[in-house]
């Protein structure tokens, strides 16, 4: 299961990936801050029924599952950005 090398090419997609990272982080931070805020400002809301479960369980599970979904989405966008930038590099090298 070992890869072959510890070196890598210059990464032109870094700025774009950094931007994705910041936006995804901001999105999750909002959801997490909302969880803390409800607990502190309106703790009773956490005990509100939501079918078999309640808001506290739902929100807790949602934060965990949202982290997974955002992680996969982030990887998808980053991989795509790396592929596009790599293609651009190859085109520009061929053109020189």
């Amino acid at each position: 299961m070992h890869g072959s090398s510890t070196e890598w090419k210059e990464d032109n997609s870094s700025p774009l990936k950094e931007l994705f990272g910041k936006w995804f982080f901001a999105l999750y931070l909002l959801a997490y801050a909302g969880f803390i805020l409800i607990n502190v400002v309106s703790p009773k809301l956490m005990a509100t029924d939501m079918g078999s479960i309640n808001v506290a369980i739902f929100y807790g599970f949602m934060l965990i599952i949202l982290a997974m979904i955002l992680a996969f989405a982030y990887n998808h966008f980053c991989t795509r950005a790396e592929e596009i930038m790599e293609d651009d590099n190859e085109i520009s090298e061929e053109g020189v």
Partner: protein
């Protein structure tokens, strides 16, 4: 609760130890260079690294501590699961790829990549050592807690055993053997936790949880009082002789009546409102070091396992059928749970810990507030709310600043692999944390909690399903500790040998010497971990890990983020930020109320700091320090060229 070793447990335990030693031997022969010792040669596949991340991160605190806290406090324990997982978002979106690009072996390498500053090397190495030690202590405590039921040996033997095996793992092959031990443990822990949750669902819930018919649940008595006055309580039941009264500690006045039947002493909680006395469980710590459990040594089995529901679907004597992920929660939510609360007080010269029943509606169990006070209507103060916010900040910002997690970014070949392995980690860890809620609540209602050691809730829950599953879960919990302690030992040894000896003191070590001193440092760290693991025996492991997160979030994260995202950052700013974050968080921890009560044993003494988690002050203070110091020391700024970041360590 008495603990007896089973043959199955011993066999499985020995198998795990042999497997771990074989892994170490296999990789030990290949580990000749500093790169292979500190970073497994940087060629671990991202999928293996991702599960190893989970194996590294899902520590004793996660498995033993969180399950124990959920079992005794309900949803509040699950807050740790949410916070621990959320922290990986910071690691993935902000830290993973840049850290891989900047660093080589240790977290200090990354912080110092652009400055080559002795001050950063020293500050960062000290921070790594302290954070790692704070994280190590609870793992070692967990090891001791586990070894008693697994092998029937005393706590200190478990600590020494784990310390010794981990020292062998790390001293032979460093990060390579550590990676595969963590991979194995991470994968197995997930598989068997899923199995345990299915067993919980298949058993259902009973108001008389008898552990599958194996252990009858002790029915705690309630006696009616004839008269209740100040220091004068009388009862009509002549079996009991009232011999004294003890006042509880805390904001709410509490009275416990001491009674005697024959030679047996018991304490009963007085309800002045109902004029009743309710049986409790108690522990006595005598001055000579003797500990009695309900008045007798542990071996006499007088300290009963607890945890039950008094009402399910409105009925007091009932049992459900098979349940699922939703109906299991629903039955608890709509019922009444007998929760147990502890009051630590004194009876003469002896320290007395009394555990008493608190019938609690399921709705209250499944929302925050049983441990962390957040509801003003239930007496939560402004300080309580700040404390809660502070804890959630520490958990969120601590993960991406833990040195033993960050060094795992150097074991993969490139930044994309660092990112992908983080995503695998989030998937595995997220799934496990969802399972913790079911394992913790399962322990809460299955009559398996040992109140003298709530860290054992998950393994004891497994024990209620038979010796085999208990043996597997316990052996895995032991492997869990081995995996995490190995990672921490590598991080701490790297700080000593690589950051301090090689870089800070500029000893110009040859590659062979770097490996040699790394191994020596790991032996030293192992010895320190054993010492502290024995001293801090009685603390809840998740609570201690909360400190490690707070210190890491305060000392390391501001420096990491500002280096990555603010060009005005200077070396003096980074160094100051680490030191201010580190020492401000430590001071706030050492002076807070929980430390006074649980570490110094100062019962009834008011501590100068009432906030138990320092992050809400120390994290902003560390950011502010970096910002202000950097403004005044502009000549050593981070380079503007982003490309430098992209290729900083690629060609090292």
């Amino acid at each position: 609760m008495n603990y007896e070793a089973s043959v199955g447990s011993i066999i499985l335990f020995i198998m795990i130890v042999i497997l771990v030693l074989l892994i170490s031997y296999h990789f030990g022969r290949k580990t000749k260079t500093s790169s292979s010792y500190y970073a497994a040669g940087g060629n671990i596949h991202w999928s293996v690294n991702g599960i190893a991340f989970a194996g590294d991160y899902l520590s004793a605190a996660s498995f033993l501590g969180i399950c124990g806290m959920i079992a005794t406090a309900g949803y509040d324990g699950f807050l740790y699961s949410i916070g621990y997982l959320a922290g990986w978002i910071v690691a993935l979106f902000l830290v993973a790829e840049p850290m891989k690009k900047l660093g080589k072996f240790t977290f200090t390498d990354a912080l110092d990549a652009k400055f080559n500053s002795k001050g950063i090397k020293l500050a960062s190495a000290i921070s790594t050592l302290l954070v790692s030690m704070f994280y190590l202590i609870p793992q070692m405590v967990g090891a001791g807690s586990l070894i008693t039921p697994l092998l029937g040996l005393p706590h200190w033997v478990g600590v020494v055993m784990v310390g010794s095996i981990v020292t062998i793992i790390v001293a032979t092959a460093g990060m390579a053997s550590t990676t595969y031990v963590q991979f194995f443990k991470g994968a197995m822990l997930l598989i068997f936790s899923i199995a345990l949750v299915f067993l919980i669902f298949s058993r259902g819930i009973s108001t008389n949880p008898d552990q599958g018919g194996e252990v009858p649940y002790h029915l705690f008595k309630t006696l009616k009082c004839n008269t209740v006055a100040e220091n004068a309580v009388t009862i009509s039941d002549s079996t009991y002789k009232i011999i004294g009264e003890v006042k509880g500690t805390g904001k709410v006045a509490m009275r416990f009546v001491k009674m005697q039947v024959g030679a047996d002493i018991s304490y009963w909680k007085l309800s002045e409102k109902d004029s009743t006395l309710t049986e409790t469980l108690y522990m006595v710590n005598k001055k000579d070091g003797t500990v009695l459990f309900n008045g007798a040594p542990r071996g006499e089995k007088k300290f009963f396992q607890v945890g039950s529901m008094s009402k399910i679907d409105g009925k007091t004597d009932t049992k459900t059928g098979n349940l699922d992920v939703f109906t299991f929660i629903e039955k608890i939510k709509d019922g009444t749970v007998i929760r147990w609360t502890k009051n630590v007080t004194k009876d003469g010269e002896d320290k007395l810990s009394i555990f008493y029943q608190v019938p609690t509606p399921g709705k209250e169990i499944l929302r925050p507030g049983n441990k962390f006070k957040v509801d003003s209507e239930k007496g939560a103060t402004f300080t309580d709310k700040i404390d809660f916010i502070s804890l959630m900040i520490a958990l969120f910002f601590g993960t991406a600043a833990l040195p033993h997690i960050l060094i795992r970014y150097y074991t993969v070949p490139n930044p994309a692999s660092a990112r992908k392995s983080t995503i695998v980690a989030i998937g595995a860890i997220g799934l496990f944390y969802i399972l913790t809620l079911y394992m913790g609540l399962g322990a809460m209602v299955n009559g398996v909690i040992d109140l003298s050691n709530d860290n054992m809730s998950a393994p004891l829950l497994a024990k209620s399903f038979g010796t085999l599953i208990f043996s597997i879960i316990s052996a895995l919990a032991f492997a869990t500790i081995l995996g995490t302690v190995s990672g921490l030992t590598v991080a701490a040894a790297g700080a000593v040998a690589h950051d301090l000896m090689d870089k800070y003191f500029d000893m110009k070590l040859t590659d062979k010497k770097k490996v040699f001193y790394g191994k020596m440092a790991s032996i030293g760290v192992g010895a320190g971990a054993i010492f502290f693991g024995i001293i801090f025996k009685e603390m809840n492991v998740s609570y201690l890990v909360g400190w490690a997160f707070a210190i890491a979030a305060s000392a390391n994260l501001p420096a990491i983020l500002m280096i990555l995202f603010w060009k005005g950052t200077t070396s003096k700013g980074v160094m100051s930020s680490i030191l201010v974050g580190l020492f401000s968080s430590l001071i706030l921890i050492f002076l807070n109320q929980e430390t006074y009560n649980n570490v110094y044993g100062l019962v009834g003494v008011v501590a100068p700091v009432q906030i138990n988690n320092p992050a809400i002050f120390s994290v902003p203070l560390s950011f502010l320090t970096l910002f202000v110091v950097s403004l005044f020391t502009k000549n050593t700024r981070v380079g503007d060229d982003k490309k430098e970041l992209s290729t900083a360590s690629a060609n090292e």
